[in-house]
Symmetry: C2
């Protein structure tokens, strides 16, 4: 279709442009028409020599904008710059992007560059680096506009124009009081349409949302998203404005948080990175696997108690994996739903009980439907392929069906209660619930299935 052609061309066009024999000024003007994200993509298609020729033409400011969009090869491109140029480029970046880039560089290179950063940039970068990765302060940028609360509209406007030269995030203008502490925020739109004789204070939203730098991202991300603002100020403990979280940061954080939860559901301690070493990835996955191995051994010893059933009626082992898998699947579904609900909303006790009763009902309903299918199809299968009589076949498949219903109801319950419990005692339910639920569900399924078989089948088949 048309659209993909149109869009892919940007990068292609850029590469052709850069490889053409335009003089430098002409080339720079042409390149300036393209989006930095596309230029960053175009860099990948160029050879090292072509890039090295391009850098001086672009200049440090432009390079800093383009390099903010790099997703890969950051280290390589910075190695193509001299330490001086690299320091200049990083000084010109948004402080959070600068920190991002620095974290991708080799230790020795990073130290050299940090030494040569200009004064302001160093302070900002140091401050952001001082926050732990799990704290919201580590995601902020120091690139924002801030004015005092005693200006006139005209003064505010000219202060904005002055600060806008250096700071990109101008949609919300932050206001501080005479002690330089956070006082409120002005929507740029309101300032633009204000009349000269309006009072600035009337434009200020005094209850604008904010976060503290040391808050954990997972604790405040939902609140930030809810306010749906273009930016949210980050305050120090004594209420000075130290940075802002922009909507781009919010998109990134939501993506990361969800990615981590997604990873946790699959038993990874955090999201994998494509570039990561095998050893590092192995380490991320091992904890859950070891936990499961030992819990699985516990299940094994319980299965062992039913050896007598199997010795008399080997056919029952055919359907063990079926019952266990189904219980596991239902439990995982309840787990996933519960974790998301717990993450999104503050539930009252009554709502929690409502969720639990709903999950049990769903488990029961699905259990009955699947049990009927299992009863029918397996009964026929056992009769036809395993040479049992019709009655005995349906006795066996009935046992499978009954075990399915019981196991699925209990699994739904377990899949809902366990994450709620971990949530209550402030342990991340996405990490902790998985192994425990798998094991509990396996145990329930094994005991139900072999237990029913023992009760209802053994005597009959012994006599037969």
């Amino acid at each position: 279709m048309e659209k993909t052609v149109v869009r892919n061309n940007y990068v292609e066009e850029l590469v052709n442009l850069i490889r053409s024999d335009l003089d430098k000024e002409e080339l720079l003007e042409q390149i300036s028409n393209y989006h930095e994200n596309d230029i960053a993509d175009a860099l990948e298609k160029l050879s090292e020599d072509e890039r090295k020729k391009l850098y001086p033409i672009l200049g440090a400011k432009r390079i800093s904008e383009i390099f903010s969009y790099l997703e890969e090869n950051t280290r390589q491109y910075f190695d193509e710059l001299s330490v001086e140029s690299a320091a200049k480029v990083i000084s010109l970046m948004d402080s959070d992007d600068a920190v991002d880039v620095l974290e991708h560089l080799e230790d020795s290179k990073r130290k050299e560059i940090v030494k040569k950063l200009d004064g302001d940039a160093v302070a900002d970068v140091r401050m952001i680096l001082s926050f732990d990765d799990s704290e919201i302060g580590s995601c902020m940028t120091t690139n924002f506009v801030c004015i005092s609360n005693n200006l006139t509209i005209r003064q505010a406007m000219s202060e904005l124009v002055k600060q806008a030269g250096e700071n990109d995030n101008i949609t919300t203008i932050y206001v501080m009081d005479e002690n330089k502490k956070f006082f409120g925020a002005i929507d740029l739109k309101d300032l633009i349409i204000a009349r000269e004789y309006d009072k600035l204070d009337d434009l200020i939203s005094h209850s604008y949302p904010f976060v503290y730098g040391h808050e954990k991202i997972e604790d405040c991300i939902d609140r930030i998203v809810e306010y749906a603002e273009d930016s949210i100020p980050v305050l120090s403990a004594d209420r000075f404005i130290i940075g802002v979280i922009t909507s781009e940061d919010i998109v990134e954080m939501v993506d990361d948080e969800m990615g981590d939860d997604y990873a946790k559901l699959a038993g990874l301690t955090e999201e994998d990175d494509l570039q990561e070493s095998v050893i590092k990835s192995t380490k991320k996955r091992l904890p859950w696997l070891i936990a499961l191995l030992f819990l699985g051994m516990a299940v094994s010893s319980v299965v062992g108690m039913f050896e007598s059933v199997v010795a008399i009626l080997p056919i029952v082992i055919c359907f063990q994996s079926l019952v266990l898998d189904m219980a596991g699947n239902v439990g995982t579904q309840s787990l996933a739903v519960t974790i998301r609900v717990l993450m999104d909303e503050n539930l009252t006790g009554k709502q929690k009980i409502g969720l639990l009763s709903k999950e049990i009902k769903i488990g029961l309903l699905n259990g009955v439907l699947l049990a009927i299918m299992a009863l029918t199809f397996l009964g026929v299968y056992i009769h036809l392929f395993k040479n049992y009589g019709w009655l005995n076949s349906f006795m066996i498949s009935g046992c499978v069906g009954a075990a399915l219903i019981v196991a699925m109801v209990i699994s739904s319950m377990v899949g809902t209660v366990i994450p709620m419990f971990f949530h209550k005692i402030k342990i991340d339910p996405a990490v902790a619930s998985g192994p425990l639920i798998t094991t509990v569900n396996d145990l329930v399924a094994v005991v139900t299935y072999y237990g029913l078989s023992m009760m209802f089948l053994i005597d009959i088949f012994k006599i037969a």
Copy 2:
């Protein structure tokens, strides 16, 4: 800690304020200091009568802003308004919020309200409703600033001030050519710091990213996120600007997309809603469960082929669930990693092979580590509790260990190749891969484990 107290107070303060005996003007002024999101939260704590008293004081414009933040009870609050007021409130909302709200109302109420919407609003709402929920056009707002490309800086600025009164999204100003088609975009910041005699064209980014209204959200969401802009224009097929996607929309879309992927990994067709009926939730979960039931039956019939092993050596069934679970877990981990990687990046063939080989290596490494643990602990366990000699005990646990290694390597491979295959043939790997991988892994594990037992154990134990 201080912070939570400070923040929760907003809603509390508001409720107290509204219940106080301030006169109307004073009350409105005080309320105006609070964020709409907090006011929306405060509404929930009020009684219906209190809300009904509050609405006329707030006025339609303010109500429209507050109601845009509603997450629940939308229908109830609108029922508390007259149809005329409701229509006025909805007319004043951003068009995407208006559509959101309308979708929450009862059919009859919605029809009544739509009849009374003012001219502009109806057209916008109709256009947004004309897009399918999966298309990006359904998420856009028609609230944006657009100027022609032949203005001077001064004209552009005054046009902006004029349009800013009605439109909130002013950070990026869209530019159209003489045919009213999309021409480019201007960063508000550049317009603000421009000098009067600069040329407007120099401010325009001619390669600003855009999307077409009919593009699927899942197809363009990654691209939109990558450009990291405050807003992206949505074009009609003939390149007229019909709306914009704001960064708040992007946050919402990322959250929804990830939530759906998360749900799919757990075998739900899409994310559950807390308010949803049991029947509806059951339907979402049933497809995967039915698929798994039938695939599970296939596995059962394969297990059936090994009845002879079990009849001679019932102890082997103890460890069936262990081997199956471990293979399943490893497969799910590879699946989760592969889906995320496929979602985030455009992989070359070489990178895909790299990922596959990495996953296999991780599977092998984890397999060997876990096999050693299983060999040791299970050997001791079988000797002590199942009364087998040391040699025989370790023969059995050795079989479990060997099966673990083989099953885990193959599961890693399967967990990587199957989602890649579905991705290649343009089927959502998150939905399709789950059941298939579970089944394939079960089969592999069963065949490996019982196969090894058959080959190495049966003859020995028969003789013994």
